[in-house]
Symmetry: C2
Subunit: 76 residues, 2 copies
């Protein structure tokens, strides 16, 4: 699976656990809501600075965010 898709799914997982809307997440992360939507849908090649903002707004650490089987495999 494309890394963009993997990250998008993981964001969605955290966001829905927190019962946040995409809009609320975008507001909390101080990022445009269209951008957050595209990242969550795996359509954006997000940069690490914006990804960190999103992860922070999800009350997670970068370490925890990537601590999933999803991020075990190689490219594709």
């Amino acid at each position: 699976m494309d890394i963009r898709k993997k990250i998008g799914l993981r964001i969605k997982e955290y966001r829905t656990n927190l019962k946040l809307t995409q809009e609320a997440l975008a507001f909390k992360a101080e990022i445009d809501k269209t951008y957050v939507n595209e990242v969550e849908n795996g359509k954006r090649n997000v940069s690490v600075i914006n990804l960190e903002k999103i992860i922070c707004a999800l009350d997670a650490t970068i370490r925890d965010f990537f601590d999933s089987e999803v991020f075990e495999g190689g490219i594709n």
Copy 2:
């Protein structure tokens, strides 16, 4: 510490463990060597697709790469 710096240090750690030069890493990752140099020096806001290529060239998984105390804290 800035996320760019954290990522750069982690890349350097893996790269030196593998006894790879920056040039060899860039070649293996199929990324420009100037770009790899800038990422390693924490000067580049690397995108997840290029970061995945670098991590893959370091024979690591994304999960392992971020499995470090360095990635525990919040922003800054």
